[in-house]
């Protein structure tokens, strides 16, 4: 079994179709929706984690792309300006999945993009406003 975290962008005409159900039913892919912004008639965005055999995930991604869904790896969507960071730690206070951590003895912010669910809490929590999350 493999896991893959993706950001899916749905064109308005696809938003109304039962895409996630199809992934589960037809492709045998466990689909965990971590975050979603979907409204009828608008472009929809969804952060999902797919869990299945690698070949099944590939087939599911092909299916999505054929529907017109833009499929991107989720890890590209959080960005932190390391050069401007003062390593205060305020962002780590709100990071429940512990993607942002600060620890002794270095006391430097470490960002583990694999753990990030792109919730965006750190964007508000950063006093220097140097984190951006595009979801």
């Amino acid at each position: 079994m493999a896991k893959r975290r993706l950001v899916l962008t749905f064109p308005p005409e696809v938003v109304e179709r039962p895409v996630v159900a199809t992934l589960v039913k037809e492709f045998d892919v466990l689909t965990n929706i971590l975050r979603a912004q979907v409204q009828e008639g608008e472009v929809g965005r969804m952060l999902v984690e797919l869990e299945a055999e690698p070949s099944a995930i590939r087939a599911a991604m092909r299916y999505l792309e054929e529907l017109g869904v833009i499929v991107e790896d989720a890890i590209k969507d959080i960005d932190m300006n390391d050069e401007l960071c003062i390593d205060c730690g305020a962002c780590t206070a709100v990071c429940l999945p512990r993607a942002l951590k600060i620890e002794p003895p270095e006391w430097k912010i470490e960002l583990d993009k694999e753990r990030c669910i792109l919730c965006g809490f750190c964007v508000d929590a950063c006093p220097l406003k140097i984190i951006s999350v595009r979801f």
């Binding site: 003062i86 205060c88 730690g89 780590t92 206070a93 429940l96 600060i102 006093p127 220097l128 406003k129």
Partner: protein
């Protein structure tokens, strides 16, 4: 054997002084003992880099022609205090922009000046015979103005409280974003690196002590506002929670924007991260013992910030060693702990100050007046009349 500051300065000038950062000193004292450390170490350098709202800059803008007694003044649309002589102003760190609100403020003006940026100056006045000008619009920068110095009424808090949130909604505070249901605990002290925690009874830090402020040499001008020495202390004298404070002054033209950074606390407002380092002369065994303090010996209290009252009760006492572990149990629940002040930068400042002293360019000063060692805070009561 006791040393004097004069003797230590002689050793600094000869390049013989032994200077350790506060975290190095903690390890040294634990390994060798305070008696031995007092013989071997001359100076311990401390550091802190946290948001300090009670900060600001005095600036003399220079006179225009014809001259003007500025009454209302804005820099980049941020109102600044002009209630002084004609062209003296004070930029308060927390002032907010008239046009951008909490997104830009006094802290940003100070950082932008240090970066060499031009600021848009707008001022109005009531004309007088000696100052006929009514309005002005121009640009200034750090080079174009006369004096520019930070004069911060309250910096370098000797310890501080921790914040948590027992309510069911997210709180946006100067202690960061607090997650509902005791989801996190934030703290804002450099702990064992912090200046006043290494000299708990202000034996060496006093009015006139030369310090590092924002990358420049500066001075302790006075005890800071809300200086509160009469607080609960550990057997070694370390305040449990907020204690003493310092009022600091230094020339902005010698500062670096690496050590002074504007901050925006979401839905709270603008503040300023201020970098401070204070050298502590190891005069005797007691000073060695004080500077040997570790994060496991410094305690503070956690408060529920969802109770916006002066009389809220502490939930729990914790040590900085516990806070540094990444989580702490509160109300039967494991909560994330997170610093708001930068411990990495605090260490860096202690190292820079150590290097300044080692190179002989920074000598220690004898305080000209002691900070108060007793005293507590008054409160602001709602009165019907000005008597009683």
């Amino acid at each position: 054997m006791a040393k004097t500051i004069e003797e230590i300065n002689e050793r600094i000038k000869k390049g013989e002084a032994v200077v350790l950062t506060a975290d190095e000193m903690t390890r040294f004292v634990r390994e060798e003992g305070a008696a031995q450390a007092s013989k071997k170490v001359d100076v311990v350098t401390t550091g802190t880099f946290g948001p300090m709202c009670s900060s600001g800059a005095f600036i003399n803008l220079g006179h225009s022609d014809p001259p003007m007694k500025m009454h209302r003044v804005w820099l980049n649309d941020v109102p600044v205090c002009a209630d002084l002589a004609a062209v003296d102003i004070y930029i308060g760190a927390t002032a907010l922009s008239d046009t951008e609100g909490m997104n830009y403020g006094g802290g940003h003006l100070i950082e932008d000046l240090l970066k060499g940026k031009w600021l848009r100056l707008k001022a109005s006045a009531i004309p007088t015979d000696c100052y006929p000008r009514r309005e002005i619009q121009t640009y200034i920068n750090l080079e174009s103005v006369n004096e520019a110095f930070l004069f911060n009424p309250r910096n370098a808090y000797q310890n501080y409280v921790c914040a948590t949130n027992g309510s069911d909604r997210t709180l946006y505070t100067y202690m960061g974003v607090l997650i509902p249901g005791y989801g996190n605990v934030t703290y804002s002290s450099a702990g064992a690196l912090s200046p006043l925690l290494n000299d708990p009874y202000y034996r060496t830090i006093g009015v006139g002590t030369r310090v590092f402020l924002g990358g420049a040499p500066g001075y302790v001008a006075w005890h800071g506002t809300q200086h509160r020495p009469s607080v609960e202390r550990t057997p070694r004298g370390v305040p449990v929670g907020p204690g003493g404070t310092l009022s600091l002054i230094a020339d902005m033209k010698k500062m670096s924007h690496e050590f002074i950074r504007a901050a925006r606390f979401h839905r709270y407002g603008v503040s300023l991260y201020v970098g401070i380092g204070v050298p502590i002369p190891i005069l005797d065994e007691e000073m060695a013992s004080f500077t040997g303090v570790g994060d496991d010996e410094i305690y503070t209290y956690i408060y529920d910030y969802s109770e916006p009252t002066r009389s809220r009760k502490p939930l729990k006492k914790v040590s900085y060693a516990e806070l540094h572990s990444g989580n702490v149990e509160i109300m039967g629940k494991k909560a994330i702990t997170a610093p708001i002040s930068s411990i990495r930068m605090a260490k860096r400042i202690a190292q820079v100050l150590r290097d300044w002293i080692k190179s002989g360019e920074f000598l220690l000063t004898e305080p000209v007046q002691k900070l108060p060692t007793e005293g507590t805070l008054n409160t602001l009561e709602i009165r019907d009349r000005g008597e009683g």
